[in-house]
Amino acid sequence: MTGNQLMFAIFGMLIIIFSILTVTSRRILRSAVFLLFVLVSTAGLYFMLNYQFLAAVQLTVYAGGIVVLIIFSILLTSHISEKFEVVGMKKQIFSGLAAIAGIILTISTILQTEFKATEVAAKEVDMEAIGLSLLNYGENGFVLPFEVISILLLAAMIAAIVIAKKGKTQKP
């Protein structure tokens, strides 16, 4: 077993164990912290695939931003010591069956498919190449998605402010 495979096994185990704990833990704050572990292990996988920039974005935006936002809203809306009631047996069984059937179907499809590995040499993905193609409209240019995503982020920011703003009519 090479070092690469060992690292992949560790990250894979961490991701699977902590994602199961995320959806089954009965304390909401713990569940958020387990989600953080999943996201950090995913960043580790991106580092293994040699996508340093995306791994950094994952760590800062996902693990740094979204999880902190979720934890803030947990603190605003729930009691920390409160435990969820146990999910009903029937619901648990049917949801588990649906999930397991989906996993089996997907994995059998994946194992039957022949993926053609390419002979093309990997392109070096450094910051300069990413920045140039984000603002390039020719070959390998992604300026349209970049602009669309910037407008989406602006709209989401305004929407979040407008929705969460306290209305004048609703006094407690």
């Binding site: 690469n4 959806v23 809203s73 649906a98 993926f115 390419t118 992604f142």
Partner: protein
């Protein structure tokens, strides 16, 4: 290049994570935990995009930019969802999906 790890391993890992997210989406009652399940699903799709880009089309950028855009969409979605959740909490003083039923009839 990743010696010794086939592409299938990444895909299997991502699909297990995806369906764990689906399970959480179906069983959870609290709005914030449902949001966390959706984040799991988005994250697993992201792993798929990057693995395909690395193994099958290493000379192109598409998968990577899809990954970036998915992360941005997830951030926007989380911000709007949390604004809505806080507003719901203000109205109903609960975020349990079964108690929020004012628009049902």
């Amino acid at each position: 290049m990743n010696t010794g790890i086939p592409l299938e391993y990444f895909l299997i890992l991502a699909s297990v994570m995806f369906f764990v997210g689906i399970y959480g989406f179906l069983t959870r009652r609290n709005l914030i935990t449902i949001l966390m399940s959706v984040e799991l699903v988005l994250n697993s799709v992201n792993i798929n995009f990057l693995a395909f880009n690395k193994y099958l089309f290493p000379d192109q950028f598409q998968g990577q930019f899809f990954g970036l855009i998915i992360i941005a969409v997830a951030a926007a979605e989380a911000a709007v969802a949390i604004a809505i959740i806080i507003n719901i909490y203000r109205h109903f003083t609960t975020i349990n999906v079964e108690d929020v039923d004012q628009m049902k009839f």
